[in-house]
């Protein structure tokens, strides 16, 4: 009796908590979406705030496509982000495996170095890199951003990947060696399939880390045909008017690809991290 009331109480609390977090996320998104369908006079209106568009309009979305080459931005963002995420995954697998399975000289120095890279303020990396890239003729190329995103995402992803490897029982590998597999073979054939959720998790980390980056984007890219989505969106803030409607529409469109991706991969992310969560 007492036990079941207690359980009921716990469930009720849980329900309240879950609802709170749902509203916390949904309400701002609702506001963003709703604003993106309002006409400008309704958005910037000091007299009355509307919680649903009085005049429903697609103009903000249309103007987005008219003013900006949104499709182009999307293509640019996808190219850079995918290239970054894939390379980060491959390099993290190698680096993470190396760190997890071997003891070698300088290992703790490597780990310390990773930690230090996280402490360097981004802007201090961007400016010297910009000067180097400009000398190499790489400014205003996707490659420059690709390199920057690669290095900024790598340390965290390598460490994360390493903790995944540490959770994989060594017995699995041993079995493969007995069958005459080399280290690389066993890595590719035996371990990676087991680690699939973890690989997805790292991919998502790298993807999100580069998809939304703005500062380096505005500094490295000059021409609209090279811009990524955040850089393109930023250009909507003009000198004389902030186009709130169009900005919110842009926010919605920028969010859509990642939101769709989330629906499919969030399961793997949690699963992957679960297997590597506790270290040691």
């Amino acid at each position: 009796m007492k036990r079941s009331t207690k359980r009921k109480l716990v469930n009720a609390v849980r329900f309240v908590v879950l609802t709170f977090f749902l509203l916390l996320v949904v309400l701002p998104i609702y506001w963003m979406v709703i604003t993106s369908f309002k006409i400008n006079q309704e958005i910037v209106n000091a007299q009355r705030l509307t919680y649903f568009p009085q005049v429903f309009t697609l103009e903000n979305y249309q103007s987005l496509f008219r003013m900006l080459d949104y499709g182009g931005f999307l293509r640019n963002s996808i190219t850079i982000t995918m290239a970054t995420a894939i390379c980060v995954v491959v390099l993290s697998i190698l680096g993470g495996y190396g760190l997890a399975r071997f003891k070698f000289k300088g290992k703790s120095a490597v780990l310390l170095f990773f930690l230090i890279t996280q402490m360097i303020p981004g802007i201090l990396v961007i400016i010297p890199l910009y000067v180097v890239f400009s000398k190499a003729g790489l400014v205003n190329t996707h490659f420059s951003l690709f390199v920057f995103y690669l290095i900024t995402n790598l340390p965290f992803c390598v460490i994360t990947m390493r903790s995944f490897f540490e959770r994989i029982p060594y017995v699995l590998e041993e079995a493969a060696y007995v069958d005459g597999c080399s280290r690389l073979e066993s890595l590719v054939k035996i371990i990676l399939p087991v680690m699939f959720p973890g690989i997805v998790a790292v991919f998502v980390f790298a993807f999100i880390g580069s998809w939304n980056e703005l500062i380096a984007g505005t500094i490295f890219l000059n021409t609209p045909d090279q811009w990524t989505i955040p850089v393109g969106l930023k250009s909507l803030i003009g000198k004389y008017s902030v186009q709130w409607g169009a900005l919110m529409a842009g926010g919605v469109l920028a969010l859509l690809p990642t939101a769709v991706m989330f629906i499919f991969v969030q399961k793997y992310v949690v699963e992957g991290l679960t297997s590597g969560a506790v270290k040691g």
């Binding site: 400008n40 006079q41 910037v44 209106n45 000091a46 007299q47 103007s63 008219r66 003013m67 190219t79 850079i80 995918m82 290239a83 970054t84 894939i86 390379c87 491959v90 390099l91 400016i127 910009y130 000067v131 400009s134 000398k135 003729g137 790489l138 400014v139 205003n140 190329t141 996707h142 490659f143 420059s144 690709f146 390199v147 080399s182 690389l184 073979e185 590719v188 505005t218 500094i219 000059n222 021409t223 609209p224 045909d225 090279q226 930023k234 250009s235 909507l236 803030i237 003009g238 000198k239 004389y240 008017s241 902030v242």
Partner: protein
């Protein structure tokens, strides 16, 4: 054998993946090189610092015409206004500046010092007469006074005015006549009368953030004959009269005639809140007329001239070219760049541009176009240009003050608005820093002439 094969495969995979990144990069790199201007194909890079849909359409159209005539292609690059100064700094320091840049006059101190823009005196020598009096006697004179050369060709002229909610005035029983002179006290009075917090009506679009000192400087210069410094380089705007002006100006905010949020407002917020119906007046450039036309009906707004000084009866108004054309120090093809500027400045092209952006033309041939007549939408601005009392006050100085403009100027005023310091301290902090920089400048450039207010007539 098998092992090697796998290792190779993995290596190839990695190289391949990297190539995905590179492949895209290389393609655009090729383009960047081409636009850098190699001998075979002449391509110019053009940077617009205030991109918008209509500006981009205009420029791409006119660049096509230019290419058809000269065979020189032009690529349109742009950077949002808020990032423009930063971006140009990064481009300039790595010698990556585009051939032709649109430039705001406030940046010139820094750019001339750094060699990021080149003098245009030789290019304009033959054609100076084609430009209007205002360009010659005000803009170029000011640049020559400050930097010894002409560095920019104006895109058009911008004159300031006070935008007013016509309908609010009618409601409040106020009649305004834009053809009559008025004073700052009249303006403050209007601001007070238009304020009705219960209706969410505020009198003024008070500018509290970046650029807060700009309109205030002009008001204070009404008490110094339009000058920031005297002929020996001593700062003038810290006098008692100027302090009074400082207090009266900031009272607009302190007395609640502007929304509390306005302490954070820059250009953008001012305009949005005027068109959005929160504030009743807005001091800004003729350029804003286009935004008003787009967002408001004609019976909602009107333009008043800037108030006249009660000290000397002059009409002090800044007149500048908001996005003047300059040739960058990085340009490998300055002659071609000049051809482009010359093309853009042709009377027929200039008038098309000015009508689009709400600016006043720069060429004599088109200065009397009916759009700019006394019955057109720009009447108040045109009238001010023709006012015999018109005087253009000086700037903050010939030195680089970008950092002050983006920081200290408005931070000191904000500190006063928040009650952290008194008005005297705030004004003195600003003026002593200006004085310090001016002294340093004069030490390095002992022969320089100190600019003074300019008159057209």
């Amino acid at each position: 054998m098998k092992r090697k094969g796998l290792a190779t495969m993995l290596a190839v995979m990695m190289v391949g993946l990297t190539a995905v990144g590179c492949g895209k990069g290389n393609a655009s790199q090729g383009q960047a090189n081409a636009t850098g201007g190699k001998e075979e194909v002449k391509t110019l890079r053009f940077l617009d610092v205030t991109p918008s849909e209509k500006r981009q359409t205009y420029y791409e159209g006119i660049f096509d015409k230019f290419e058809a005539e000269t065979g020189i292609a032009v690529t349109y690059e742009s950077v949002p206004w808020d990032d423009a100064a930063n971006k140009i700094t990064v481009l300039g320091s790595s010698n990556q500046l585009p051939d032709v840049m649109t430039t705001w006059s406030g940046w010139l101190g820094q750019y001339t010092q750094a060699g990021w823009v080149i003098p245009l005196d030789d290019y304009i020598a033959d054609s100076r007469d084609e430009y209007t009096e205002a360009v010659n006697k005000l803009l170029w004179k000011s640049e020559e006074d400050r930097y010894g050369h002409v560095y920019t060709i104006p895109d058009g002229l911008m004159v300031k005015g006070i935008f007013v909610r016509k309908d609010w005035c009618e409601e409040a029983g106020i009649t305004l006549d834009p053809t009559k002179d008025w004073t700052y006290d009249d303006y403050f009075d209007l601001v007070k009368k238009l304020t009705d917090a219960s209706k969410k009506h505020y009198g003024a679009a008070y500018r509290g953030a970046r650029g807060a000192l700009d309109p205030l400087l002009v008001y204070m210069q009404g008490y110094t004959g339009g000058n920031t410094y005297d002929q020996s380089g001593k700062i003038l705007i810290n006098s008692e009269d100027c302090l009074n002006a400082f207090v009266k100006w900031t009272d607009v905010y302190k007395n609640g005639y502007a929304p509390e949020d306005a302490i954070n407002w820059g250009f953008t917020e001012m305009v949005d809140n005027f068109t959005g119906g929160l504030v009743g007046t807005l001091i800004n450039d003729s350029e804003v007329a286009a935004t008003c036309q787009a967002n408001m009906s004609d019976d909602q707004w009107m333009v008043m001239p800037m108030p006249k000084s009660t000290a000397d009866g002059k009409l002090y108004n800044t007149i500048n070219a908001p996005y003047a054309y300059s040739i960058s120090g990085s340009s490998k093809n300055p002659d071609e760049a000049w051809k482009l500027i010359e093309f853009l400045s042709r009377p027929e092209n200039n008038i098309e541009y000015c009508k689009l952006t709400g600016e006043i033309p720069i060429k004599k041939d088109v200065e009397n176009d009916e759009t700019y007549g006394l019955s057109g939408p720009y009447a108040t601005f045109a009238r001010q240009l023709n006012d015999p009392d018109l005087a253009v006050p000086t700037t903050f100085g010939p030195f680089d003050y970008t950092d002050l403009h983006q920081g200290m100027f408005h931070e000191e005023i904000q500190n006063y608005l928040l009650g952290n310091v008194d008005a005297r301290t705030a004004l003195d902090n600003i003026t002593s820093e200006l004085q310090r920089r001016m002294d340093m400048y004069l030490q390095d450039n002992p022969d320089s002439v100190i600019e003074s207010a300019l008159k057209l007539k």
